[in-house]
Symmetry: C2
Subunit: 410 residues, 2 copies
């Protein structure tokens, strides 16, 4: 089906443009790094590819460097770079060791030097040097989780117990410049949240930390109490940050792909955060309104929806979003709704997302499938498998959230 | 606040244009009714206003007429028209009596005659002549509801047990022409659903009816069984239908009001049907994406959202939608999300809907109000009351669903 081909083309194009490799190359265009030494520090699940792009772009300009990524995420040697694999989501000795190497490599730099800091999702575990014993840090995290503390509260505490989080890595690099390229995997790009912001001024204060300690009655060692009293950097004059490969870029890449296929695209949002199934219904309602269009249209919504599980089926938020749109677009003309995760995996499945068009609901009905019952059981995967609506890309090497797209082809 | 003034202006304008009076006048423009007799039959909650518009437009051309509306919905005499008030949502003796009068008035008409049939929401109860005793009809309805039958199934049965539903009124009027003006209050304007379609061919079949009887094991009298075997009209050559005052017109009226206030509007849909709170979050995500706009923008979504109650608070779908958008638009610049029911009543409250802007969330927080807790308790009314965000219009005299609007003022 033509419209499915268009969808696949858009997905391929959008995912390629937010790959760490392409994204880092874009962020580096225009940067010269003519003076002093250039130290590369890459941390996160995409660290290897980000470093590869930097090496290919900057070559011999890079004095030396370190990559710390998740186990099985290194794809080989990179000239002049030390590569480490370490624990994620729980940091381990290798995380601490590699981080120590990075800290050594970036100490005693001069004002002319630059640290090229490449950060991606997972960096919070992979790039870490706790200032208290790792067991104690885990215990405090467990206490916070058990009390129902939110992620902002947890980070407020953890930043103060780390030698690198909350802007402390950038402070460590002073007076060198930190040229930070951040591959954002959090909607809205909150820099201090991505990998707990090693090169980002910390908005939280010691008073915040004390309030959290009191609120939850945390049990802390004297050392930990002392650390919570030491303030994090509130300004970092030596940092230049480039956010790249974000969901905004995913949407814009999808938009460009739509144009090249003859659709007139409109980005509705890049911070979708509602329930997946309801977003699917909303988008199908948009499709219905424009059913009489004479020109091909595309509506793009980026973000990360949520699923509140009710059933025991197989699926993911993108598959659920797409299947939830099937009934609403049934019997329209040449209309599709599809949704995909830029990391190529949607929920605990081998699919990146799901695709439905005007015929999906009817074809499933003919096969005796009750789409609403499948949705109630969170079993979008099996429904889409039967309708040929699974989107399979394989792991893509990056994660900048999802895009959900309505196509109306004329 | 300026943007609240704009919202109120848009609400006022949009509601006015879908008022029965304005809507009927638009639908009648161009109709002549030069031949034969012209019999007016108006049924539904808006029957009186629809008849008033017809009388004002057609005057002496109307031979005679009958209005049947809900108790307290008549606003006085209309020349040449018999006016009845009757039971809604449960039909009563007055419904049956008035419907009988209408049937008498429209029998033995000639090919030159015209029945001007003005239908609005509530017509299903107000315009009814059951073919079995009313108690039995109520018992069957109760059985269907208890079994979890859906509205399509219920109507399939009820149309066959009525002398007027499912196209039978129009068949009764033959060979006269039925000029039907329908004030739509159901998303998507399904003519056979509005007041159970007295002048609309019936898509359901006797086989459908029998299947429903078997599916739910309905207990039926012999008379009822016999009636379910008599087929409803599948085509009605004597009917000309004009749908007016629909949610589409509500959206377009809002769109025109936006333009006149300097906003560039975009209608996203006129058939929104998802969970109210999720629609609010979706619209707030749209607002966030366009936060950097240089020109004033408006996004309009018409339809009728749903609320699955979790709490015991006070509210309605429009208030819940608006309040659910408050967090997502907080701290944006001059941005509002509001939602209102065109009938002026939203849920069991005296409000028509709700309004929030970028300051609402923070102001409620300052007052010690946890917006999410209020939403979890379905208590949007009380939150919006405190923030000054209730939209109060009073009963408007019509119901063509809701409009939810994002305004970004520059």
């Amino acid at each position: 089906m033509d419209i499915r081909k268009d969808a696949d083309e858009i997905i391929k194009h959008a995912i390629k443009e937010v790959q760490p490799y392409d994204a880092v190359k874009r962020a580096l265009s225009g940067a010269s790094f003519e003076n002093g030494r250039l130290i590369l520090v890459a941390a996160g699940k995409a660290a290897w590819s980000m470093a590869e792009a930097a090496v290919s772009e900057l070559g011999e300009k890079i004095t030396r460097g370190v990559v710390v990524t998740k186990y099985d995420h290194s794809k080989g040697n990179l000239p002049g770079i030390e590569i480490f694999e370490a624990g994620h989501p729980v940091p381990d000795e290798n995380s601490f060791y590699a981080t120590e190497i990075a800290l050594k490599m970036t100490e005693k730099l001069s004002r002319d030097d630059t640290v090229l800091f490449l950060l991606s999702g997972g960096g919070s575990a992979l790039f870490e040097k706790p200032l208290i014993p790792a067991d104690e840090l885990q215990d405090i995290t467990r206490q916070l989780l058990a009390c129902g503390a939110d992620i902002v509260e947890i980070n407020t505490i953890r930043k103060r117990l780390s030698a690198v989080k909350g802007g402390k890595f950038a402070r460590h690099c002073m007076p060198a410049t930190v040229f930070s390229i951040v591959l954002s995997d959090i909607v809205g790009d909150p820099l201090d949240m991505i990998a707990s912001g090693p090169a980002c001024p910390d908005a939280s204060t010691n008073e915040d930390a004390e309030r959290i300690v009191r609120k939850y009655g945390l049990r802390l060692s004297d050392k930990a109490k002392e650390l919570l009293g030491a303030e994090t950097p509130k300004a970092l004059g030596n940092v230049e940050t480039h956010i790249t490969g974000s969901v905004k870029e995913l949407c814009r890449a999808a938009e460009r792909a739509c144009v090249s296929l003859g659709y007139r695209p409109l980005i509705l949002t890049d911070s979708l955060g509602c329930e997946a199934s309801e977003a699917g219904k909303f988008l199908s309602a948009v499709a219905r309104y424009y059913a009489d269009t004479k020109e091909s249209l595309a509506f793009i919504a980026g973000g990360e929806t949520v699923v509140h599980l009710k059933g025991t089926g197989k699926g993911g938020r993108n598959q659920e979003l797409a299947l939830s749109a099937a009934e609403g677009i049934k019997d329209l003309r040449d209309t599709a709704v599809f949704s995909f995760g830029s990391d190529g995996t949607d929920g605990p499945t081998d699919a990146a997302g799901g695709y439905v068009d005007q015929s999906t609901y009817g074809r499933l009905q003919t096969l005796g499938i009750d789409v609403n019952a499948m949705l109630d059981n969170n079993d979008a995967y099996n429904a889409l498998k039967l309708s040929g609506g699974l989107i399979i890309t394989g792991a893509t090497g990056t994660n900048v959230n999802d895009a959900s797209i309505v196509l109306i082809k004329r």
